[in-house]
């Protein structure tokens, strides 16, 4: 019996040690960035190797905000992510609703075509043709292109989540609404949509994470129009500008500006985050 208790205590100790070690490794880079952003420029250049700043200063933020255009980048990021989140909520709930409840010829064929696109895995390799198509429609020089592509491009993962969620809603709701004379769209608009709050939260969080963190597509769409760059692209631009060595302070402050909203949203909605990410991917 005694041996048993000892064994248990030891295994608990081992578990907590491993978890704590990984915890430190997990948050260290984040702390490094956030704390580093408060160091003075001199301190960064001569003592970039300390974790905690000797003196907390806000100079980097001021400089990033005023001189390095980060106020504009932040606005751009908010605009892009906000539009994508709103647009995707509408487009994905509609698509999920139509595929789940709608009846029309060829529905299953279209659904198969949509789903089978997942097996063609080209990733960022299709970015150039996508860009050229955007150019054809004249939406290749601003974030509107990214927004339109993300909203109407129909993310298969989101579609799966939406369809699966709407499937759990009882048909009786549709039927009684139909008896009241509601059309297909009215049922979506007045009956189904109000029931989708948890689904909307999941999609909103998935899309916020994706669009706020996205790099390559917004990079391509703002190459010729730096004023429209979102935060992530703006920060990377500093790195590749050749003045990387002297702009550590701006990169750290910029990264913090990009990280903080994400972390705050995550800490508040961490449950939805984790559930949403797994719901989407395992089904896909």
């Amino acid at each position: 019996m005694k041996k048993h208790i000892l064994q248990r205590t030891l295994s608990k100790l081992l578990i907590y040690t491993v978890l704590t070690l990984v915890f430190i490794v997990a948050i260290f880079p984040v702390l490094y960035t956030l704390l580093g952003s408060f160091k003075g420029n001199m301190e960064l250049l001569t003592e970039g190797n300390r974790l905690f700043p000797r003196k907390f200063v806000l100079d980097n933020y001021k400089q990033a905000w005023q001189i390095a255009n980060f106020s504009q980048y932040t606005l751009n990021s908010l605009f892009m992510s906000g539009s994508i989140v709103l647009g995707t909520i509408i487009s994905c709930t509609i698509a999920g609703y139509v595929f789940e409840r709608g009846h029309f010829k060829g529905k299953n064929l279209i659904f198969t075509l949509v789903v089978s696109s997942m097996f063609v895995s080209l990733g960022s390799l299709t970015l150039y043709p996508v860009f050229m198509i955007a150019k054809f429609f004249g939406i290749n020089k601003s974030l509107w292109g990214v927004i339109i592509i993300r909203v109407f491009g129909l993310n298969v993962t989101n579609l799966f989540i939406a369809r699966a969620y709407i499937r759990t809603i009882s048909y009786e709701i549709d039927e009684s609404a139909m008896l009241d004379g509601c059309s297909f769209f009215q049922i979506y608009h007045t009956m189904i949509l109000p029931l989708l709050k948890p689904l909307v939260a999941t999609i909103a969080i998935l899309e916020f994470r994706h669009s706020w963190n996205d790099y390559l597509m917004p990079l391509v769409f703002t190459l010729s129009n730096p004023k429209r760059m979102p935060l992530i692209v703006g920060i990377m631009e500093l790195k590749s500008s050749g003045e990387a060595a002297t702009s550590w302070n701006l990169m750290l402050a910029g990264s913090s500006i990009a990280l903080i909203p994400m972390i705050v949203v995550y800490l508040i909605f961490n449950r939805n985050f984790i559930e949403g990410l797994t719901a989407g991917s395992v089904k896909g």
Partner: protein, 305 residues
């Protein structure tokens, strides 16, 4: 697509509404998913700088297979980096999931915190790690100097292997969380009774893990690993944001290599046709990898039963 229900009464108005509601997304989907694939198919037989184009038959493919060693090197790097880091990432994610599944005190906190890196932009991850591992004034070098593991600062990004090591660490840091959560979800669906009866038989935890846990989460494990492999092979942001292929293209991966030819990025000339051909071949290779993986992992799964 616009059908008026009044003139064509044989259509159910609700079906018409359904089609109209879906139409914007369908158009967008075919435009931004299928058309690009045909675009790539077509242009892989052309030489094009984005403005003019000439049909050159299979010349692009001949060039890839006979004269473009850097493409194959970048493909090799993608495989090396992916399998190297997954060899650490997958066991780590599984171990953490098993630990978090023990329902000990504080696991809620650990779950939230250990998942934190997964919400952070891959590009920012690349940037932060390249700052932390900087040769001059980098915090990692300083820490290693202080413990006495190294005598002089290491120039991490000036040699291939050390640069690949940093990329691997950064990628594991960014991605283990999502796999950990997948495994955790799978573990939570394993019936508790199985463990209880094993406890009665006095079976050790290690044997329980290999004889109950692993077979029970097998299907999830198979899918998660497949997604991790394909996802890692498609890695691009991390490399662009940290080494950008340096030193001398030795850390270039296939996605960044092709990307640069498409857009004329990083000093390359725009070669849409050549890039399309490379994209096509890469797509085929990725599909083959998935296929081979599924075949072998199915076999392994059956031999375990």
């Amino acid at each position: 697509m616009r059908t008026n229900p009044l003139t064509k009464p044989k259509y159910d108005p609700n079906s018409v509404q359904a089609v109209v509601m879906l139409a914007p997304m369908l158009i967008g989907f075919f435009l931004f998913t299928y058309v690009p694939i045909f675009y790539i198919l077509r242009y892989s037989f052309y030489q094009s700088n984005g403005f003019t184009e000439t049909w050159i038959g299979v010349e692009n493919f001949v060039r890839i297979f006979t004269r473009d060693l850097p493409y194959w090197k970048s493909l090799g790097n993608a495989f090396l980096l992916s399998f190297g880091k997954l060899a650490v990432e997958i066991p780590l994610a599984l171990l953490l999931a098993v630990f978090l599944n023990k329902a000990l005190k504080g696991t809620g906190f650990f779950r939230v915190m250990l998942f934190l890196p997964a919400i952070i932009s891959t590009a920012i991850t690349g940037l932060i790690f390249s700052l932390m591992f900087a040769s001059f004034n980098g915090i990692i070098n300083e820490m290693l100097l202080n413990i006495g593991w190294i005598a002089r600062p290491i120039s991490w990004f000036s040699r291939k292997w050390s640069a690949m090591l940093v990329l691997g660490i950064a990628s594991v840091w960014n991605n283990y969380g999502i796999n950990m959560i997948f495994f955790l979800m799978a573990l939570q669906s394993v019936p508790k009774e199985l463990y209880e009866s094993a406890d009665i038989d006095g079976i050790s935890s290690v044997r329980k893990f290999f004889h109950i846990t692993l077979p029970m989460i097998g299907p999830t494990f198979q899918v998660v690993v497949l997604m991790a492999i394909v996802g890692s092979l498609k890695m691009a942001d991390l490399i662009l944001a940290s080494t950008n292929g340096q030193p001398a293209g030795q850390t270039e991966v296939v996605m960044t290599y092709v990307f640069k030819y498409f857009f004329g990025y990083d000093g390359r000339t725009v070669s849409v046709g050549f890039a399309s051909a490379m994209a096509l071949i890469t797509g085929i290779i990725l599909a083959l990898v998935s296929l081979v993986y599924l075949k072998t992992s199915n076999k392994l799964g059956h031999s375990m039963d």
